[in-house]
Structure formats: structure tokens, C-alpha cells
Symmetry: C2
């Protein structure tokens, strides 16, 4: 019966109980989640005393399915067939949000932890670890004069970086959204796996990917700074210095650090920048304030709402003039992607029109759905294939 | 009232609800955990419909405290004063084990996720990110002929590795226990923070730390291999090839990879090896089968139970002869640490006696408590200060 794991798994857990005091690894015979052949997914939870259990997932924005209880106290629910993607979910047990206790695979998004699963047979196949040459992922720290601090960033170097010790590589700067940090594009974005797989298939050029932290007054991700656990995750608009423009105008700090410490092709032709949501906003103003720097620019569901922006700040003054300057200095490819259900759709349309008015050639990509990681992963798969060719 | 966060935190979460569809970041005014001035810790959970809630933590092996419910549906419990350490805990809500939903900070141990907190003012101060120069942490892959596969490992390089581009460094090979992998010594062990802090204080030499995966038939941690989510965490004795000795006899593969790809001082004088539990067992037989390789050897609560060991395997034959060979070839420092409540205490005593009989000079360190990460982190703080001096 597919619902039950092989006996050794139970054995395994029992042995653990003897072997260690603090692992807390429990015996279980439940299978959850179970991705079925028809791409429906079945969730199960042992909670005999619960009155109400729902599964809450991200397969359609936020989807909630009531689970039904069997006489043996196991709650169960099955989704509709799902398209290939990585999905996150939690259980709502009588109002308490929890991980799936029998699923060891999780991701953090801002301040919450979610259980995850993959529906394969499509784009999610790029999110898998395959038997292909793997690049390195390094967390390192650069000194920011703008922040007056050492700040953490994550760098992906392709497999060829290890095998060709003299070769230099192009660099793709990839920026997270509000509430994100230098871990988001790796953990939720699957950047290293996507690049490993696209490069192995010959669909993307071997490139370095730099993933900085876009919250200039925070040195690193929550829990990874000298504030310890006192700095709790929140959206970036709750952090000091939000949209003061200093991250965008000082972005050359990060480029300099990268080109001084890694074997980079250090010219405009071999630099790309893109970002999701707030990171798309950052990308736009980084490009406008560094017009001779990037040949490839990508906006992913960009946070293009300028309504509360202080247009007197150096980063944000004279947008039209800067757009014209960017158009004159030239670039190879400018991509703007947004979902037709995204709450930022209108704002992206307006900025697209403004870029048109200023003579910029922008390739606008309309996807389905909204402001979701599924779109941002898919945009990365598409955009990274356009780079450095 | 300390129980309530500042208003902006609630604001923050509300803004999030507007800003993104799938973050699921909820408003809350609960503070949990709350580390009090007297080093007691108070936990709180909003669960109005629950009949019974307990907090289960690792501050004394496995400790369970029943929580009491207030009229507003908030369950609360407070520990005894705790010594400085990092602690893990979960809530048992009517039999369902969950994370603390308002604590974003977690760690995985084998197949379970735990909420965490620190009690500072002692050894846990070494587990904090401080404003000191930080090393890099890199996940990379080496080719193992023994496994016939590319396998993942984690490498810490000290801050000086970035600033002195020609300098070479000694290497410390640090091995995980059963159920662990190449992430355990970083996430649970806090290796990078401990080394950053000890090096900044001048108490440890700048060194490279290599953290391999000791399960030779698995390429990487659960979820990081081409098995995807089908390879679920379990204890190593449930994996094929457990204690077949090939990891220990082929460990020179990992040394060769490290010395070919990093700026290492590539001699016995500048190599150390240590491991916890199963990793201590590995360390013992790696040292015995590579007698001219390491000047520093450390056993942390080592899994020295030879009862089920196949003594005919090349790695495990002629232990006395190999010990005498190790004694003749010499080493600088051999450290064996075990807690007096550890279920492996007797086994460690027996191996200590066997090493004595064969003329080895071993410094035995008896700590309090049992087979716990708190001991292993503290052993790392102590042992790393003995290296390369």
C-alpha cells in the first residue's frame, strides 16, 4: 500500500531513538506528500485530536483545501492535477500553522517555514540536482563603504571555473525581493541547480552568478548578522534606509569586489543584472545610474510603484534623462517579465510605456499568474538562456 | 509588556499580506521564545483549541515541560535557568510535533526540524556572528573513484585566505555523525562562526576546515542528490555500505582534492582530523590507515563499538598493529573527548585502554552530559585551539 513506507524506514527511526538523545527522529508509516501519477498530490497528517485540519499551499496564489479525517486519526486531502513546479505548503491544525511533520524538506520565505515538493515532467526538472558537473556556491563577505560594514553575499561559480583555472567568466548579478536576502535566489530560486542544468545542456553560457543582500542597513540574512536572533525577518519596507537609493548608486562596490576576487570578464559585454519584485526596482535604478555597465538587464515582476518615491534622491532624479542616457550608451538585451495576475502588472505597463517613450528597446514577456516564486524561477530559466551569447 | 512586540512588527506583517501572495507571513504579537535575564526561557503558543501542549527541548537530553493555557488561548511554559548554549525545541500539540510558529530560526537534525535559541554569556557567545573578519563557506563537489560519483563537501576558508592571496593554510578535516552530512557541522555545529571568532581572538590559527559527507553511497545531503526528495534522511546504519571501510581507506581522495584546489600547507604537520560519533569512528580508522598523514587527531563522543565490525575488512584488520604503526610514525596531539552520560562512554574507555596498551599518548577529556550537539560544539571550541601551534 503506497501510503506506507517500507518497513526498514520504521526500523531506521527506532534505531535512532536508541542511538541519539536529541535527534527526535520519530517512527512513522505515513507518506506525505505523495505526488501521484496524474500530478495530483495527496497530503496526510496524523492528528487524532484535531477538530479541523486544512492544507494551505501556493499552487494557485494561496490555496486552502480542507482535509478529511479517517477513523484512525489520519487527515487526508488531494489536490487537482498540478503543472510541473516546486510548491510550498503548510498545515493549518485548528488555527496553528505547521510544517508537514513527516516531510523533511523545507524552505524559508521571509519569516515562515514551508514544506515543499516537486511536480516533475516540466520546468521543475531544471530544479533537480542531476548527474551533471556542479558549480560551487560560496557565501562570502565584501566591505561596503556605503554601509560602513562587511556584508554577506552568495556567489555561484560554474563547474568550468574549477576545471579551467585560468579561464575568465561573465557575471550575472541577481537581486532578491522585499523580505528576501542573499539566500533567497539559492534556496527558493534554485539558481545553482538551474544554471548547472542549463549549462550542462548547452542552453546557457557558463557564468558567475552574484546574489547580494539588497537591504543595505542589514549586513546579512536574519540570524546571520551580529544582531543574532534579535533581527527577525520582515519585509524590506520595514527596514531603515528602504528606498533611499544608496544601494542602487553604490552597486559598483559589489561589482568591484566580484571582479577583484573572481576570474571575471570585467566589461559591459559580460555583465548582466536582473531582480525580482524589489530587486527589479533595484535593477532598474542600478542600470539607470550605471549606464555604461551592463549589456543585459532583466526585470522580474519588478516593484515599479514610484508613487511614494522621493524623486529628489540622487538615485531617483531625472528618470527620463537617465533612460535616454541608457538608450544612447546602448545595451544588448533588456527583458521585462510580469504575470497578468500580478498586483504590479499596471505599474510594469506604465514603466514599459515610459521606456518606450524614451526610445528604449525592451522585450516585454507576459506570463500567467501572479507575484509568485514559480514565475521568478521560470523567468530565471528563460532569461539566463539569453545572456552572453 | 515584554510579551508583545513593538507595533511596527504587526504593521510589517500586515503590509506583507498586501505585498505578496505566497509569503504567508502572519501578524503576531506573541514573543516566543523569550530568553529571560536569569537565563530561564519562556515559550508561548497561540492554540485556543488545543487540549494539551508541551514544549520538548534538548537542554537535558530530551526535556518535556507541560505548558499552561491562559483564557486568551495562549499556552506558556518557562524552563529552569539554562547554561550558555544553543538549544533546540519543538511543541507537542495534542500529539503533533511542530516548530514554534513565531520563531523563524530553525535547524534540521537528521529528518526533523527544530526551533532554536541561544543562551548567551558563555560558550554560546562563540556561536554568534560577531563584527570580526569572516571566512568563506563553499559547497563544492569532488570526484570519488571509490564511490564512482561526484560528491559534495563543504569548505571553510578563513578571512586571511581572502586577504593574503599567496598564503597557504593548514587543513582540519571535520567529520559528521550517523544521520549527518556535509551540512551538519556548519548548521548545527556553527563551525564557521566558531572559527571566525577564535581566529579573531588569536586563540586559533587561521585554518581551512573541510567537512565531507561520510556516507560514501550518498553523493550529498538529503534533497541535494539526483535522488531528489526520494532520498529521505535516516541514520547512516540504514544506508548501503555502512561500515564497509571504504570511506576510511579512500579518505586520501578528499585530501588530494583539497590540496589540489585550495592553498594548503600540504604536509602532516599541517593536517588535522576529528569527528563526532560515527565521524569519530571514521577518524580513528582514517588515522590508522593513513599513519603518516595527520599530526592532530580528535575523537568527539566517538562511535567506538566494534562488536558488529567485520575485522576482515582492510580498514578494520589488525587494529593493534596499526596502532603501533601510528605510534611509531608519531603525531603531535591526539585528543579523545566523551561525556560521562554518553551511551558510548564505556566503548570510549575500552578504546582508550587499547591505545594505552599500544603505547599511544592520548589526552582524554571527560565532559559532563551525553551524546549531544552541545558537547560537540564545545569540543570543537576546545580542540580547534590546540591545532597547528
Amino acid at each position: 500500500m503506497k501510503r506506507f513506507l517500507l518497513f526498514f524506514a520504521v526500523q531506521c527511526c527506532m534505531l535512532v531513538a536508541l542511538a541519539q538523545q536529541n535527534v527526535g527522529f520519530r517512527a512513522t508509516d505515513l507518506v506525505s506528500p505523495q505526488v501521484n501519477a496524474d500530478h495530483t498530490v495527496t497530503f496526510r497528517l496524523m492528528a487524532p485530536k484535531a477538530e479541523s485540519v486544512k492544507v494551505v499551499g501556493d499552487w494557485a496564489g494561496e490555496s486552502t483545501i480542507a482535509m478529511t479525517k479517517s477513523p484512525d486519526g489520519v487527515w487526508e486531502a488531494t489536490t487537482m492535477p498540478l503543472v510541473s513546479e516546486m510548491y510550498t505548503y503548510r498545515f493549518n491544525i485548528d488555527g496553528v500553522m505547521t510544517l508537514d511533520p513527516v516531510n523533511p524538506f523545507t524552505r524559508r520565505d521571509v519569516g515562515n517555514w514551508f514544506s515543499i515538493f516537486y511536480v516533475k515532467g516540466g520546468v521543475a526538472d531544471y530544479y533537480q540536482v542531476r548527474d551533471v558537473p556542479h558549480g560551487n556556491v560560496t557565501t562570502t563577505w565584501y566591505h561596503s563603504d556605503a554601509a560602513g560594514a562587511d556584508r554577506r553575499l552568495t556567489i555561484y561559480t560554474p563547474a568550468a571555473y574549477n576545471t579551467s583555472k585560468k579561464r575568465r567568466f561573465p557575471v550575472f548579478y541577481l537581486l532578491h525581493g522585499s523580505g528576501g536576502d542573499e539566500t533567497a535566489w539559492l534556496d527558493l530560486g534554485h539558481t545553482a541547480r538551474i544554471l548547472d542544468n542549463l549549462i550542462a545542456e548547452g542552453k546557457a553560457e557558463p557564468m558567475i552568478v552574484v546574489i547580494p543582500n539588497g537591504n543595505l542597513t542589514k549586513d546579512a540574512a536574519p540570524g546571520e548578522t551580529s544582531e543574532g536572533l534579535d533581527f527577525r525577518p520582515c519585509m524590506s519596507n520595514q527596514m531603515p534606509g528602504y528606498k533611499d537609493g544608496r544601494y542602487e548608486t553604490n552597486f559598483d562596490e559589489i561589482i568591484r569586489f566580484t571582479e577583484q576576487n573572481y576570474r571575471c570578464l570585467a566589461d559591459k559585454k559580460h555583465r548582466a543584472v536582473a531582480g525580482l519584485s524589489m530587486g527589479g526596482f533595484h535593477t532598474f535604478f542600478i542600470a539607470l545610474n550605471h549606464p555604461d555597465t551592463f549589456d543585459y538587464i532583466g526585470l522580474f515582476s519588478a516593484g515599479m510603484d514610484f508613487s511614494k518615491l522621493d524623486m529628489n534622491l540622487p538615485a531617483y532624479t531625472d528618470i527620463d534623462g537617465k533612460l535616454q542616457r541608457l538608450q544612447r550608451s546602448g545595451y544588448k538585451y533588456f527583458w521585462q517579465a510580469c504575470g497578468d495576475e500580478d498586483f504590479l502588472w499596471e505599474a510594469n505597463q506604465q514603466v514599459y510605456a515610459q521606456m518606450q517613450r524614451n526610445g528604449l528597446d525592451v522585450d516585454f514577456y507576459k506570463s500567467s499568474r501572479g507575484h509568485l516564486w514559480s514565475n521568478w524561477r521560470q523567468y530565471l530559466v528563460l532569461f539566463s538562456q539569453k545572456l552572453f551569447k
